[in-house]
């Protein structure tokens, strides 16, 4: 036993390092999980007279997708969001984050609009209130307005199946 102790310790250490090596440093744990989604009211893209506020979604399980026209991986994700909307999965709100060139309206008419509402966060303040570090980021919010899940990076079929679907089942939506 004693002879094997260094080897056992070494293997344990390698185990820790291997785990650390495969962690994604971008996956910063969000302090909002289990907390009320921050309130805001923002004008809508293409219709500055109308506005959106998370309160309007009370009673529904919905998703807030933070995106921007200048964001390349958002375009990669766009196709899958379109599929979700076409399948009637759940309402998706697309927070248009720091779109200085105001390209969102045009892009959405060109490529299709998967969102029920596209609030415009021009200076990025609402993004900061949600702890956004980059686009795309997606928050799953439940009937009571509590953040249940946060995903950093584009959503694809894999992420949807392994991360979102189990949570949605749990929420009964």
């Amino acid at each position: 036993m004693k002879r094997w102790l260094p080897l056992i310790l070494f293997v344990a250490l390698v185990g820790f390092f291997a785990k650390g090596l495969f962690l994604n440093p971008r996956e910063v744990p969000s302090p909002f999980i289990g907390r009320q989604a921050p309130a805001f009211t923002l004008p809508l893209v293409g219709n500055a007279n109308a506005s959106f506020s998370p309160v309007e979604m009370k009673g529904k399980v919905w998703m807030m997708n933070v995106w921007a026209p200048w964001c390349v991986s958002c375009r990669q994700e766009h196709g899958f969001l379109m599929q979700l909307t076409q399948a009637g999965a759940l309402p998706i709100v697309g927070l248009n984050w720091k779109d200085k060139d105001r390209e969102a309206a045009q892009l959405l008419t060109q490529t299709g609009n998967p969102y029920v509402a596209v609030p415009e966060d021009l200076d990025g303040r609402v993004g900061i209130d949600y702890g956004v570090t980059g686009t795309p980021e997606t928050y799953l919010i439940d009937q009571k307005g509590i953040v249940q899940l946060k995903h950093i990076g584009p959503i694809d079929a894999d992420v949807w199946k392994n991360k979102f679907e189990p949570k949605l089942k749990e929420l009964g939506a």
């Binding site: 440093p25 910063v28 302090p31 990025g124 303040r125 900061i128 949600y130 702890g131 570090t133 980059g134």
Partner: protein, 156 residues
């Protein structure tokens, strides 16, 4: 041996020195209309992590989000918020991850106390080895054998 130890010490301390956020280049701050607040901002932001380029401090980063966060912090300082309140503002949004100095609380006990723990384990092992060695030395020596050994030495 001594040289080896010095080399090891250097090898391990150099990367630590190179990573120290204090060495990060300071960004020329464009909005320096209030030097007191700018100084407070730089002091505070040096201990905060930029969320985009995670090994850079919020003070040194050129990322757009870092600029936005500095703008927020500047605004809050101007409206009379204390450093503590500003840090609270950031940690409620981004978690303890923004802090380069993690707070001392149950999840970080192992992080903070780990070195002491390992020092204790190492020290304990060292003391035990020393004791065992001393015990091995104090085995009673047979008088007759000692005399025989002395005689052998004399004969030479």
């Amino acid at each position: 041996m001594k040289h080896f130890l010095t080399a090891m010490l250097l090898a391990f301390s150099l990367p630590v020195l190179a990573n120290a956020p204090a060495d990060a280049p300071k960004e020329a701050l464009p909005n320096a209309d209030d030097p007191v607040i700018e100084q407070r901002l730089v002091n505070l932001a040096e201990d905060l992590r930029c969320l985009v380029c995670q090994n850079e401090s919020l003070a040194g980063s050129h990322a757009e989000l870092a600029e936005d966060l500095r703008r927020e912090i500047r605004g809050q300082m101007k409206s009379g918020k204390s450093d503590k309140e500003v840090i609270e503002y950031l940690t409620t949004r981004y978690g303890d991850f923004v802090l380069y100095r993690p707070p001392f609380k149950p999840v970080t006990y192992l992080l903070w106390l780990g070195p002491v723990l390992f020092l204790g384990i190492g020290g304990g092992a060292w003391v035990m080895t020393l004791r065992r060695r001393r015990a091995a030395q104090s085995i009673p020596v047979d008088e007759k054998k000692l005399a025989a050994a002395a005689q052998l030495l004399e004969e030479k």
